[in-house]
Every structure is written in C-alpha cells, then in structure tokens.
C-alpha cells in the first residue's frame, strides 16, 4: 500500500502511514519514502563529512554532547544520514527518494519524527531557496518567524501566539520563497511539539497528544481545534531571533551582518561542503536580510512573561505597519 501526503508543499509518497501529515494526491509526488525492515547499520565507502552534536535534554535545556547523534555521509548515490541510536536514512542525490532502515527496537513514532522533523527539512534545503530552523505564526500583519537554538522557546512562543488565535505556520521547519516582490512563508504541517509543562501552562485544558520519540518527553499536539493551523502560504513580515534569557522584554533591531550570520546558523543544509550550494544560500540570505527586517527578542523564560512578549511584538508590528506596506 502506498500513501500520499503533503509536507511544506512537498508531495511525499510513503509505504507506511504518516498520521501527522495531511493526505495529498499522489499524482504530483516529488519524493518517495520507503521504510525498510529494521536492521543494523552497514554501509561501505561513505565519506563522513559532518555531524550534529547539539541535543535537547528533558529539562528544556541545551547541552553540547561530546558524541555526535547525527552523522552526515556522502555516498556514490547520494547521502547517508546516520542517527547513531536510531538508524540510517539514505537520501538519493536528486532527493527524490528517501529510505530508512531503523535499528532494531526503534519505535515507529521515532522514525516518523526523524523523517518529518530532521530528514525532510534537510532534503528541502536542496530544493527550496531557504529552509529555516524556526517556528512561525500568522498574525493580522502577516507571518512572523521565531528562530533560535533548540530549547530556547521557539515552539512555546509560537504556541502562545496560536492560543491567542494566530494560526501556526511551522513548528521548526520554515520554508521561505521569494515571491511577489517579497518573501512567502510556506506552512509545514499541522502540529507542534511541546514539553508537558508548556502544554499544561499554555493550553490549560486536556488536549489529545502523542509521543514524539522514545528519547524525549515532548508531546506532539496536532489538533487544529486547539491550536489553529495556517490554511496556506502568507507573506513573511518579520524574523525574530530568540536571545538568551533576559530580565525584561525588549526588541533589538539586528544589523545586516548579524542577521546574515543568524540566518546561516539557523538554515538547514544537507551538504555544507557543496560550494555551489553555499554560494546560492549566501545570495539568498543576503537578499532575505535586505528585504525582511530582523530583530532579536529578549525576554524572561517564564510562562508569565509570554503575554508581555506577545504584546511587545504586536505593538512593534502595529507601529511599523505603514513602513511594511511601502
């Protein structure tokens, strides 16, 4: 049985059910996912060229573990993404095909999480102008994006806005396209991953949630009746980069070079050694920086501060409304 879904405007067929995604017409399929039987990792002739070590721990903090948790390898046919404790994802060079061989015992929810929230964003980085590690919501002024390191509160801030009626555009994979003389934000897929304490504090009601992965206590919330989800692409108005914990709420306009550095830091990139890709990405972030204002948001990391953060951001957008319209 083959299923067909949409994620970030990509039509993906799969040999396994992906209940997190909305279904789509398979005729326009641009990428095929195949879940293989579990097995131990084995691959010859892999050029390992990069790895990620940053992980979130269960206390909503970031730690820089010494051991890599994802290794990037180049093979004769494409790329091998090895999640050391979960399994391998093989991506074809043209990114049309993704195969996963999970390690024995890896739960299906974990495989789906890795596919949807790690591998697909990396695959999209080869297809789209830019894919940011950012959450985003649709306000009455347009889409605003929140980028920041893992554990800095992107999803919490986005959920806080969504609870007030701003539709979610993305949890942490934001595709941006240069269109119509500006930048358009493409919704990723319905749902958001939150810590149980965040769900309790922000939603204040019993909402259905699901496991994200076996290695985190985060819960997946996908009920659009609880948190609304954007129905389609919308113009991007602001980039907000989350600064470290601060004593009070403030917004600081970022200089172009800091914006560019931040965009590069939070842009997904499947192949950081591909010079042609880096050059294209460079041009993209320069253009984005010149066309969408970027700010750093400072605020105390406590739930009680979230209304003040929302208010400061919305007030800023209201004050800048006329400039944005020009």
């Amino acid at each position: 049985m083959i299923y067909s879904y949409r994620i970030c405007d990509l039509v993906l067929t799969s040999n396994t059910v992906l209940p997190e995604l909305a279904t789509a017409n398979a005729l326009g399929a641009e990428c095929r996912f195949e879940l293989l039987p579990a097995g131990n990792s084995s691959a010859d002739d892999v050029d390992w060229f990069h790895h990620w070590t940053i992980e979130e721990n269960e206390n909503d903090e970031v730690e820089d573990s010494k051991e890599p948790w994802l290794r990037f390898g180049r093979t004769a046919d494409g790329y091998l993404l090895r999640f050391l404790s979960c399994g391998d994802f093989v991506v074809s060079a043209d990114t049309m095909k993704i195969q996963c061989r999970p390690l024995p015992g890896t739960p299906e929810a974990t495989v789906r999480h890795l596919l949807l929230d790690q591998v697909i964003p990396l695959v999209l980085s080869r297809r789209e102008r830019i894919v940011l590690h950012a959450s985003a919501v649709l306000t009455r002024y347009g889409v605003i994006a929140f980028a920041g390191k893992s554990g800095q509160g992107k999803s919490t801030l986005a959920a806080s806005f969504a609870r007030e009626g701003c539709a979610l555009v993305s949890d942490d994979c934001l595709v941006l396209r240069a269109e119509h003389g500006g930048w358009t934000a493409i919704p990723s897929y319905p749902g958001i991953r939150l810590w149980p304490s965040t769900i309790e504090e922000i939603l204040r009601e019993d909402a259905p949630t699901w496991d994200v992965a076996h290695y985190t206590i985060k819960r997946r919330l996908g009920d659009t009746n609880v948190l609304p989800y954007a129905s389609g692409p919308a113009p991007l108005r602001r980039l907000f980069f989350l600064a470290d914990d601060a004593g009070e709420v403030s917004l600081e306009k970022l200089l172009p070079r800091r914006t560019i550095m931040a965009l590069v830091e939070f842009a997904y990139n499947l192949d950081i050694k591909d010079a042609a890709f880096l050059r294209r990405q460079f041009d993209t972030v320069v253009r984005l920086t010149g066309e969408v204002p970027a700010y750093e948001v400072h605020y105390p990391r406590e739930f009680a501060a979230l209304p003040a953060v929302r208010e400061a951001i919305l007030k800023h957008l209201e004050e800048q409304r006329d400039l944005d319209a020009e």
């Binding site: 070079r257 550095m261 050059r279 320069v286």
Partner: protein, 91 residues
Amino acid sequence: MTLNDNVRIPDQVATRKLGDETILLNLETGTYFGLDAVGSRFLELLEQNGDLAAAHRAMLQEFDVAPKVLEADLLRLSEEMCAKGLLQAGS
C-alpha cells in the same frame, strides 16, 4: 604581518555588500565573516590592489584616527582574516 605586505581575497571567498556592511563567505570551509562600515572600507581598498600600506594611507585621510592605532587595527584584522582563509598573503 606588516604594512609592507600585500594581501588578496582568495578565489574561494565570496563577498556581498549590504548597506555599509560586508559579509564574506569562505566557500571551502563554510566560514562566514562580517565587517562593519570601517572594515568594509578597508576591504574595498584592498580589492583595488591588495596594498596594506596604501589602504592605511587612504584610511588616515578618511578617518579621524592616530596612524599607529589604525596600523594595529588593520594588521590585527588582516591576520584574523588570513587565519580564517578570507585573505591570503601575496599579490
């Protein structure tokens, strides 16, 4: 490094100007580097002929700064950029 040295921007380095700031990218290492308005002017002068002494002379005319202070700043910046592969000694 001294003001008698010449430097050049290697082929694998891309530069883009945005307002009065400049961003450099080393395409081999993926290293990004940002220059403020003064640093951007320095790079602009280096792009002409790579002559550090000529850049120093020109900037003394344009900025209110003591020669020794400017020399130290330019050499420190040049060495940092060379270390990141964003400049290369030699014409």
